[in-house]
């Protein structure tokens, strides 16, 4: 999962799926190109999606003849549980 998150293009894909969930590969490629100026090939984006899917951060669902991609942030819960939020401190008196 950390490897999946380490790549900026993959983080951007997750950003775009947060803005609009359930996108085709074509739509994801279009958004990355036009709103982020990422010139990655469709094949490269497809491979990024495979990595995200293997990490459980993206799920694909077939609806009829189309395939849509959905974000799943539940694996990220592990990070919060391992390093729960603590305010910085101790503070000086």
């Amino acid at each position: 999962m950390f490897k999946a998150l380490a790549d900026p293009t993959r983080r951007t894909i997750l950003d775009e799926l947060t803005r609009q969930n359930g996108q085709t590969l074509f739509e994801i490629c279009g958004r990355l190109t036009t709103t982020h100026g990422l010139g990655s090939s469709r094949q490269a984006i497809s491979q990024h999606l495979d990595v995200l899917e293997a990490a459980g951060l993206v799920e694909t669902r077939r609806e009829g003849r189309y395939k849509f991609h959905y974000i799943n942030t539940s694996p990220l819960q592990y990070i919060v549980e391992r390093w729960p939020h603590r305010p910085a401190g101790p503070k000086r008196p």
């Binding site: 996108q23 085709t24 074509f26 279009g30 958004r31 497809s46």
Partner: protein, 129 residues
């Protein structure tokens, strides 16, 4: 050189003609019987002397795997200009058309992608004025 004719593969020419005319709003231009099939083209009512769109039979074995792969990834086969993508999206949705991509600003253009019910995805695009 200019583009006189382009084509989409359709599963059923009669059904395609109804979708492209009744739903999308094109007009029939040529309809010539050719054995089992027809030389069947439509044009835009805004440009009746413009580019013909041929509704071409999809019976060749190469078409099915090609089109299935495109559709699975959401890739449109053709793109048509409209004045207002959002208005057209609402109108077509009202007629029961299925979209795989809602209207989205893609840089300077707004696009959406619909299923033509004949085996293809079609993009509609609104270019900046």
């Amino acid at each position: 050189m200019r583009i006189n004719l382009t084509s989409v593969f359709v599963n059923d020419q009669e059904r395609a003609l109804r979708f492209y005319t009744d739903i999308l709003g094109f007009e029939k231009k040529h309809d010539v019987p050719l054995g089992e099939d027809r030389w069947l083209t439509v044009v835009s009512p805004k440009d009746p002397e413009g580019t013909n769109l041929l509704l071409e039979p999809s019976s060749h074995p190469a078409v099915k795997p090609f089109r299935e792969a495109l559709v699975a990834d959401g890739i449109p086969f053709a793109s048509f200009d409209v004045d207002d993508v959002k208005a057209e999206y609402d109108r077509l949705r009202g007629l029961g058309v299925r979209f795989t991509q809602e209207p989205v600003e893609m840089g300077p253009v707004v696009t959406a992608v619909l299923d033509d019910t004949c085996g293809n995805l079609i993009q509609i695009a609104q270019r900046p004025l």
